[in-house]
């Protein structure tokens, strides 16, 4: 290599000359656009708000743990658990409707700003909404007769949406929350009467709170739980009586705790023994809630950890036994979800902010198998018959399709999608299967 430092010394000036064009004349247009846009609330940036001091300071001294007592208690619990497993494990799994295995109906998705449906073999693709606005986050009710979705005024109305419910064919649409600002993780009650979700209020945008809305619009959305506590990613239990969510204190670096409360917001109980620095893998706005009730309502999956290393845990929903890890590794494991029968779990694994790979494992985390790579962050969706998982490939690669992966044959059914992907519009890349009764 010839040593000629002259050019390098002049590189900053040469680059300036090479790149300088006319004075930008679009300053006013970008400022008009930003003036019309609300800033994202601070709670969306929980990890970024941590200071280097908080991250690097040594941990506070920990009280001496009575290991012998804990060991004896653990042995007793283990014996009880083994006994219970031996008893329950031989029983046929019967889950009350609308949970357990079911017939797979259509799959709903967002195509070119509207809600579309298609059969699981990719046929019969059609739009079920045609009204103004950009749609997102389609979610069928548990009985498959209705569908909830978001409507944004435009692709630039980031975070600002209304939440609507319509019949499964898109007819009879009605707005049930006109102010679904930065909504996250909506879930239907088993009887279809309620929708539970987290959102920040436009009048209180710093706060994430849990809301319950009547799905027929008969009453306005109601904040439930401690109004002074931050809460995200709420999910209703299969029996419809409780809500699991992450409670956290933004002033404390490690304070995410899996919590359950009654549907009316009372009797909040911290389930995870540990409090975590981060949840949700790549970000709440992409629909990675990190909380999933087992179909029988006895256990809860969740992903949590630090910004750079999250694991998937399972915990007893009654709060009797502490959480235990079922998927771990040097990368982030998150977005875990149960199969309809509860016999398997699916989860994402990948580096922070990188596009993850999809894994499927037995319910205890064993027999992990990689199913797909380089995906969008939306939580993988099981078909009600447990044969197929729907994923969305990394939108940056512009593949423009949803993939329905047959777990037995690895066969992929692609469903084309079009439209602008906006990374801050919750639900732009989400998919929901319609659940129909078994014949």
């Amino acid at each position: 290599m010839n040593a000629d430092p002259r050019v390098e010394n002049r590189l900053p000036r040469i680059l300036t000359d090479l790149g300088t064009g006319a004075t930008p004349d679009y300053t006013d247009s970008i400022l008009a656009r930003t003036a019309a846009t609300r800033q994202r609330p601070s709670w969306m940036f929980t990890t970024r708000l941590l200071t280097m001091t908080a991250i690097t300071s040594p941990a506070a001294p920990v009280r001496r743990v009575p290991l012998r007592t804990i060991g004896i208690a653990a042995l007793l619990l283990l014996a009880l658990a083994v006994g219970a497993l031996l008893t329950v494990g031989n029983q046929p799994r019967r889950l009350p409707p609308p949970y357990g295995l079911a017939t797979t109906g259509v799959v709903s998705y967002v195509n070119d700003g509207q809600i579309w449906v298609a059969a699981a073999d990719g046929s019969g693709r059609r739009a079920i909404t045609t009204t103004a606005g950009v749609k997102g986050l389609p979610l069928f009710s548990r009985d498959g007769t209705r569908i909830a979705f978001l409507t944004y005024a435009s692709v630039f109305s980031l975070g600002h949406a209304s939440l609507s419910v319509a019949d499964a064919d898109g007819r009879g649409s009605m707005v049930i929350d006109p102010d679904a600002y930065f909504i996250n993780t909506p879930s239907w009650s088993p009887d279809g009467r309620l929708l539970v979700y987290g959102k920040a209020s436009a009048t209180d945008e710093e706060a994430g709170r849990v809301y319950v809305a009547a799905s027929d619009g008969s009453s306005p959305p109601r904040l439930v739980g401690d109004p002074n506590a931050f809460a995200v990613a709420p999910v209703i239990s299969p029996d419809g009586t409780r809500i699991a969510f992450f409670r956290f204190d933004p002033a404390r670096p490690e304070s995410f705790q899996l919590t359950v409360m009654d549907i009316d917001g009372s009797h909040a109980l911290g389930l995870s023994r540990g409090a975590f620095a981060d949840i949700g893998g790549a970000g709440m706005e992409h629909g990675t809630p990190g909380i999933a009730w087992s179909p029988d309502g006895t256990r809860i999956l969740f992903g949590a950890g630090s910004p750079d290393d999250q694991d998937v845990f399972v915990v007893d929903a009654g709060g009797v036994t502490p959480e235990r890890v079922i998927a771990t590794g040097p990368q982030l494991e998150y977005a875990a979800t149960w199969s309809p029968s509860g016999s398997q779990v699916a989860f994402f694994r990948g580096e922070r902010f990188d596009f993850p790979d999809l894994y499927v494992a037995a319910a205890d985390g064993s027999s992990q198998r990689r199913i797909a790579t380089h995906l969008s962050w939306f939580t993988p969706q099981w078909s009600p018959d447990e044969r197929v998982i729907a994923v969305v490939p990394n939108p940056d690669l512009n593949r423009g399709e949803i993939r329905l992966i047959d777990l037995a044959t690895d066969e992929i059914v692609p469903i084309p999608i079009a439209g602008t992907y906006i990374d801050n519009q919750p639900g732009a890349d989400t998919v929901s299967f319609q659940r129909l009764p078994l014949p």
């Binding site: 010839n2 040593a3 000359d17 090479l18 930008p24 930003t34 994202r40």
Partner: protein, 189 residues
């Protein structure tokens, strides 16, 4: 008003303060984007996208003193997103013609022009990520460790790609280069 105060005000939702920050930085952001994308129209899209994200996500900026580095990071990432999504589109090169750069006041025009031809040729051959490394280090003034973080590349990869580009420019990569003032300090969010 100093930049730190403007950033603090903008983080509180003061759009006038943000507008002042934008007016003070948009010309250099536009230059950086043009160097990476080699297309004035795409560069405008990238700058708009970067500044939009800056306003939207300003409350997530952990270190307000690093605002400059942060908006370059957002703009460069917007450039790379646009490059990925529009790779099939024909490139419309709007880079200034080399002959137009031959100013009479330059001390040694032949050397200046030769250098620019050399740099321009190397930049043409690099992909957008390679050009981003050059731009972030030599134009924006970020240390290589921060360039690596910004582009989500291992530091070794950044160094080797920079070294190859510099070799093409017949430059000794070990020669230190004076960097713009804000290059020192911690990392941006």
């Amino acid at each position: 008003m100093d930049q730190r105060r403007l950033v603090d005000q903008a983080r509180q939702g003061d759009h006038d303060a943000f507008a002042e920050l934008v007016r003070g930085s948009i010309a250099r952001l536009d230059t950086a984007a043009r160097l990476i994308l080699r297309d004035g129209e795409l560069a405008r899209d990238a700058v708009q996208d970067g500044l939009f994200r800056a306003w939207r996500d300003l409350r997530g900026l952990r270190e307000p003193d690093r605002f400059d580095a942060w908006i370059y990071r957002l703009t460069v990432n917007a450039c790379l997103d646009i490059a990925r999504r529009r790779r099939r589109r024909p490139i419309e090169v709007e880079i200034v013609e080399i002959t137009e750069l031959l100013a009479p006041s330059l001390p040694d025009p032949s050397d200046e022009v030769a250098d620019r031809i050399l740099v321009d040729g190397v930049m043409r051959r690099l992909d957008e990520r390679g050009r981003s490394i050059i731009v972030l280090h030599y134009f924006v003034g970020l240390p290589l460790s921060e360039v690596a973080s910004c582009l989500d590349l291992p530091l070794g990869t950044v160094k080797s790609r920079l070294s190859r580009a510099l070799a093409e420019m017949r430059i000794d990569a070990h020669e230190p280069v004076p960097l713009p003032a804000f290059a020192s300090g911690g990392s941006a969010s």
